[in-house]
Amino acid sequence: MSPNQLTVIIPSRGMLAILEQCLAALGRSLEAAGLREQSTVAVVDNATAPPLPPKRIAAAGAELLRLDAHHSFSQANNLAARRWPAANYLLLNNDVLLQPETIAEMLGLLERIPQAGICGARMVFPDGTLQHAGVVFGPGKQGPYHLLRAQPSHLMPRVDREFQAVTGACMLIRHELWQELGGLDESYPFGLEDIDFCLRTRQIGRPIFCCQGSESLHFESMTPGRVKLDVGSRELFMSRWQGRYTIDG
């Protein structure tokens, strides 16, 4: 397995128009990183009715894994990682438009810091405010939240730094870590399985970083019905982790 070999996993329930933009931006980012040939882009069609058009997905340079029944985010990612094993996995949401330099920056960070297990990415909303620059934890029921979410982007320094967690909307993970933890936990209905994975990563002593060099675009929670599933996931997450993470000052 070449050390830079990459499988990008993009679950999608419908949303073909934005998915195609996501794939186009991803292609440019892989090209800029010199990884186009060594990468597999896997679109997981999570029970779209009617199914995503196979030829259009293939024309965008992606493999298609079709699920007829709706699966959780964890199951969708785990299935694709099993099908296309690689040295690194990039979990990517279908409503993220990567900057050309983002993948190279993320891989560069993992290369620079060998003990790092996961690397996240800084992302903004279409209006330029921060969508994600790292996940922090509040006291009590507050739990995990995005640092400076919806705040002007200039408030967050452009310095890569360590966090307890980063979002799974754009998350680069080393293969051996993925194997050791058995992928994402499939008991989460939808949401917070990424934060669970990060906390489990830290429990085995692997730090997590967020790249701040480029600002990709993330529309966030575009899939219909997505937000409803969050409630069950949050309850499960808090029952497992409350009191076991560090409250960020």
Partner: protein, 306 residues
Amino acid sequence: MPKPKITGIVHTRDSASTLEAALASLAWVDELMVVDMQSGDDSVAIAQRHGAVVHQVEIAPRIDGVRNRFTSLASGDWVLVLDSDEYLSDDAPELVQSLIADKGGSYDAFALPRYNYLGDQVMVGGGRHPDYQIRLFKKGMVLWPDAHHTLPLVTSGPGRLWEVHSSRGPHIHHRNYRDLRQLITRQLDYALTDLYPSDPASFDFAAYLARAHQQMAMRSDAETDGDLSQAMALVMAWDAVMRGLIHWDTLEPRPPLNMLDGFPRAAAQMPRWEIRLRRFLGRHLALKHLLRAVRARLRALLPKRG
């Protein structure tokens, strides 16, 4: 309880271009059989590469009559039948197994919904989805009559057939046509090679025109499938007219075509309620089976003629 054994059966005839996907999607079954109708291409080699047991069969005009012979050779408790231009999704193994575990005790056969692709587009309007197909059943519980467009028979009765809801269960994915040109080529080929009644007295061109009206009304659903649905409706209407002309051309002596007279009569022969009923029944296969059983009972009650 031990897991029931599943036999997958795929029928082929010069199917090399689509067979790979069909067999790859059945890699998880306990036994894989390919029933080949004298293919001249690489179908058999592909089947062997996938570890299938290949049975050769003589060329027959219809696959339906052949199916029964080979389902009886299956060693599985359940049989899953695919055509060579169909495939299952990547989560089919778990969906099929949980379907059998949940409902297999109460039902002998499952009607699976089917997605039909024309090129890259799934056609769902005009009753083309869920397009139920009886393809998963306990061995020996389904029989196919040797005729075109007839429903397979669930031997234990229509009450033992379960329609799998399209939002939850496995689908059959059917790559019907590569593009519209392939649809036109195939329809013309079928029309030219089909058998037509030879009695000139029974020929009625208006009946073909009526079928053309019906195809236009049933298959055109632009709100759901866009222009492609209208194109498909036009092809199928054209097919009906072509069949009328081909039929007429085979007759000796040729009866009057009565084209001008045929148009108004054809419009009256295809009432809207019948089109609506056909669309409705197209979506509810189990109901269709039930109606067929009721009709058979009623017929049995009627005094026999002669």
